[in-house]
């Protein structure tokens, strides 16, 4: 079939020279497009089939748990064999498994481009953002579990309430007592100051760091890396002014604030947005010390 195709194209192109009207041309192009589309579809179908035949599949071991159904109360691992295509992410594979094999497979996802922060999971022993993790980077079988140190609601969905509480505890929004003169005046930040807080603004609240943190696991009151990073973002913002900084440091200096961090670097290791979390926490510690140590 495919060997005949080039001849047909040639026939048509010679016919096109004899028939100069643009309507006929368009019709032909339309036909050609359809043929190409069909061919592409066929190719894809063949490829998927071939992939299944040749075992070019990825083996997923997915954590399953559903407290509402008697037979699923006991946590277990389900195996899925997902046909692989180049560039496939863990999230793609999960979605394929859900759409093709088991529609009850539950997990959070939304934007699929590492911005919404919904699909942080525990993949092959590390907290990762599924939409940002290439299957080809992982060893088989790919073990997908819900985030550790959090209550599992169902399958891969964990309760994020505690994480959000900690985030809110540091007042993660801009507040200042120093407003510019004019009513319509913009409140500008210096370029240097912006550079300083740049990395910390990239947080997408996925909770990977909090889940990886050993200290946060043992101390429920610990603010956790994400919240401390949020606090860093505003504490270091010069526009907030001195008194606001003081207020922020008071929150951070508490027993379960910055001082719980033991620089294990787990959070920095897993952060999908490459935020230097430990560095920020360490800097807040220094700020806190400077704030309280007076030599005069």
């Amino acid at each position: 079939m495919s060997t005949q195709l080039p001849e047909q194209v040639e026939e048509e192109s010679s016919a096109a020279e004899a028939e100069p009207t643009s309507a006929a041309q368009e019709r032909r192009l339309e036909k050609k497009r359809q043929r190409a589309e069909e061919k592409e579809r066929q190719r894809q179908a063949e490829e998927a089939e071939k992939a299944l035949d040749e075992e070019d599949t990825y083996h997923l071991k997915v954590f399953r748990y559903d407290p509402e159904i008697a037979g699923k109360k006991e946590p277990r691992f389900d195996d899925f064999h997902v046909p692989y295509h180049k560039g496939m992410t863990v999230l793609d594979a999960l979605m394929y498994a859900r759409d093709t094999y088991d529609s009850s497979l539950t997990f959070r996802h939304s934007c699929r481009q590492a911005i919404c922060g919904s699909d942080a999971m525990f993949v092959n022993g590390s907290q990762r953002l599924c939409c940002k993790t290439q299957l080809s980077d992982l060893e088989e079988p790919v073990r997908i579990e819900p985030l550790p140190h959090a209550e599992v609601v169902k399958d891969l969905v964990v309760d994020m309430e505690h994480f959000y509480d900690q985030m809110e505890a540091v007042e993660p929004y801009f507040q200042t007592n120093e407003l510019p003169e004019g009513e319509l005046e913009e409140q500008h930040q210096t370029r240097e100051n912006r550079e300083k807080v740049k990395m910390s603004t990239r947080c997408i609240w996925c909770g990977a760091c909090m889940s990886s943190c050993n200290i946060a696991a043992g101390d429920n009151q610990y603010l956790g890396p994400a919240a401390l990073n949020k606090a860093y973002r505003f504490t270091m913002d010069e526009r907030e002014g001195e008194d606001m900084k003081q207020q922020r440091l008071e929150i951070l200096e508490q027993e379960h604030g910055v001082w719980r961090c033991q620089t294990q670097f787990s959070c920095t290791e897993v952060c999908p947005k490459d935020i230097p979390l430990t560095e920020h926490i360490q800097e807040l510690k220094r700020e806190a010390v400077k704030n309280n140590l007076k030599f005069w």
Partner: protein, 131 residues
């Protein structure tokens, strides 16, 4: 957070295979710290019970130094102390916010240096035990 059921080894030290450099540094630092505290008390206990007379002191030390186990433990003590010192320096830099990007390399460096110093000390510590 408490779990509604046992999720297996993902929660605890069973994950050690997945630990990264920073985590190992923390684990070793804690471990060596406790060993040093333990040694400190043993040290005080042993020496203070051998203080009745100069002779008693000398015999105690000589007996201890004559034991192969003690000689080997001394090498271990040196290893623990050297690692604790070097990693302590690393943590000092971490606290100062210097070179946090290479914290893993400095951990490996402190491990290597500990190994080198310990190996170099073996002839001194074990001199005469096998002779």
């Amino acid at each position: 957070m408490s779990q509604s059921y046992n999720r297996g080894l993902i929660e605890d030290f069973g994950r050690w295979r997945e630990f990264s450099a920073g985590m190992w540094a923390w684990v070793f630092h804690k471990f060596t710290g406790w060993v040093l505290v333990g040694y400190l008390f043993t040290h005080i206990a042993v020496l203070s019970t051998a203080l009745q007379s100069p002779d008693a002191y000398t015999t105690t030390i000589q007996t201890l130094e004559g034991l192969l186990v003690v000689r080997i433990l001394e090498v271990g003590l040196l290893a623990v102390a050297v690692f604790h010192i070097l990693n302590g320096l690393r943590l000092l830099f971490v606290d100062l916010g210097v070179g946090l990007e290479s914290q893993d390399k400095s951990f490996y460096a402190s491990l290597l240096l500990t190994g080198a110093i310990v190996v170099a000390s073996v002839p001194t510590f074990l001199a005469g035990v096998f002779g």
